[in-house]
Symmetry: C2
Subunit: 321 residues, 2 copies
Amino acid sequence: MSTGTRALELLGLLQNRRHWPSHELARRLSVSQRTLRRDIDRLQELGYPITATRGTGGGYQLSPGASLPPLVLSEDEAAAIVMGLQEITSGPSLMSADAALSAMAKIVQVLPVRIRRRIDSLRAVAVPARNPAARVGITDVASLTTLALACRDTETVEFAYRSRTGQTAARTVHPHHIVRVENRLYLIAWDLDRADWRTFRVDRIGDASRTGTTFAPRPLPADDPVEYVRARIGAMPARYPVRATVGAPAERVREEIAHYGTVEPIDDTSCRVEIAADSLDWATFCIGALDAPVVVHGPPEAIAYMRAWGRRLTAGTQEPP
Amino acid sequence: MSTGTRALELLGLLQNRRHWPSHELARRLSVSQRTLRRDIDRLQELGYPITATRGTGGGYQLSPGASLPPLVLSEDEAAAIVMGLQEITSGPSLMSADAALSAMAKIVQVLPVRIRRRIDSLRAVAVPARNPAARVGITDVASLTTLALACRDTETVEFAYRSRTGQTAARTVHPHHIVRVENRLYLIAWDLDRADWRTFRVDRIGDASRTGTTFAPRPLPADDPVEYVRARIGAMPARYPVRATVGAPAERVREEIAHYGTVEPIDDTSCRVEIAADSLDWATFCIGALDAPVVVHGPPEAIAYMRAWGRRLTAGTQEPP
DNA sequence: GGGCTTGTGGCCGATATATGTCCACAAGTC
DNA sequence: GACTTGTGGACATATATCGGCCACAAGCCC
């Protein structure tokens, strides 16, 4: 074993347990304690914050430092990380999607097929997302990471895109950026067939595959990718733009609704809210959980849906005789 | 720069971009191309799947391999990973909590304070979890990882525990295991003051801190930690054990309820459900979203709460004049 | 095929590094 | 004070590293 691998091995050991006596480490690495000391010295010179304690029960330990060392992960841990990042990109997280995507790209790129398959199978049997927020924007990891890698490497990709009308068509694009807008991921790309910029909802993309050919990145016709996507999708109406008047102070309502909709005060005790929802269940939950008198103005299907909820709940909650 | 750091640096570069021409890598590492070749050789001997392409547009690239190499992450990426893992441990994920926790422990252990603070602040301004599923089992990352690290290192910990009645008391324990049961994390530990085994809900633990003293692990009085926790908490009743009769086939209802409750068929068109909920909003959502006639039997506060929802929704959804 | 680019790998010699052993010492615990 | 455990200097020896040089192989473009 060379010195380089030994350093990595040592790092892995130090990451797996907090406390290591010197003789134990030396034994595991099959070197003398003197050499181990020198290895530790080297790591410390590289900035790794390894502290040592002397005396009975002494030993070495890795503590938080100034920079982030390379992580030596087990397969299970890697799988867990990918699952977690997937959750972040498709959930209502405040974390930047950029960081999550680049981390996922790094991991997936070197992930053995075996583990990748395990992740896929975990997703396949995943619970059907009872919770309406998480139901938004579910994507398969494979396509998502393919797109992320292709963006990073300026590589042409092909995929199948399900349009709003439900038709599926093959697309070949130069991917430019993936951004999250309103809890949903969008791919900004130059569509080769249409010879123009397009935005694609990532959760409607399937079977993404890299072609292997790279391209020279083209400047985006906007300064901020997020603003670009917003402008593009702003034209399209939300599926259920629920409008309602709530008999509660705007401040309190805004706290509850958070960033799922807009709140405008009418007076001190009432306000107008608008929630752009894709699921009527979700919209109903938002309205119902407000715990304040409310009047829903539209759209009609949302009114009908909520009325049905109301009827069911009222009918089902008579006091037992 | 020594050869060891250069190997790490090279690894980082290869993880950050797919394609690297040899001269570019050599320039970045400030070595000759000949030396770079030898470095690549070394990495390949260590099992890294670096492939090279010759000819115009050739270069080196890192591809998926048989084992997982150490990951060189940026600070943003590390923060994203921790957030994602946090999501996994406290959400309705199928991923094993064990792997997520050990990964989190590894990362957090070496995480510079600066990044740790950023994660904390992100959590602080996080949306107040409008979605009821995610609201279950929220924990602060600091306490959770402290416990995970203490379990790993068999180190005594102290923390403040809020009991079911709302009182907070200081505890000193020998942590043994963290398990997830029904979307909630539990710490199994030997309570030093009570001199007996106890299970603690991790989301009720605050201000966890390691004492620095280690202990000899004690065998758990059960074979399977998960079963042990189940047996312990099985005795305690849920906060709101909502019972209801639903006018829909048991199969369909079970699909909707998933694993949030139990479903027992009565006949082909109706069934009895029981949902153990801690939040009345969540219980109401489960019942309301069923889209079937329902009769709620109890508990009384749940009935009252749902009736209020029903009234609000009915009153607020009259057709506009 | 010819010219071009780019990676491969062998060889050499000067230099730097790694390693083990021995030892005196420092800083903790009991 | 005895014991444990990490620290670091010295030294001799074996081995690795590095750059430069060169012939070659494999891909691309004309």
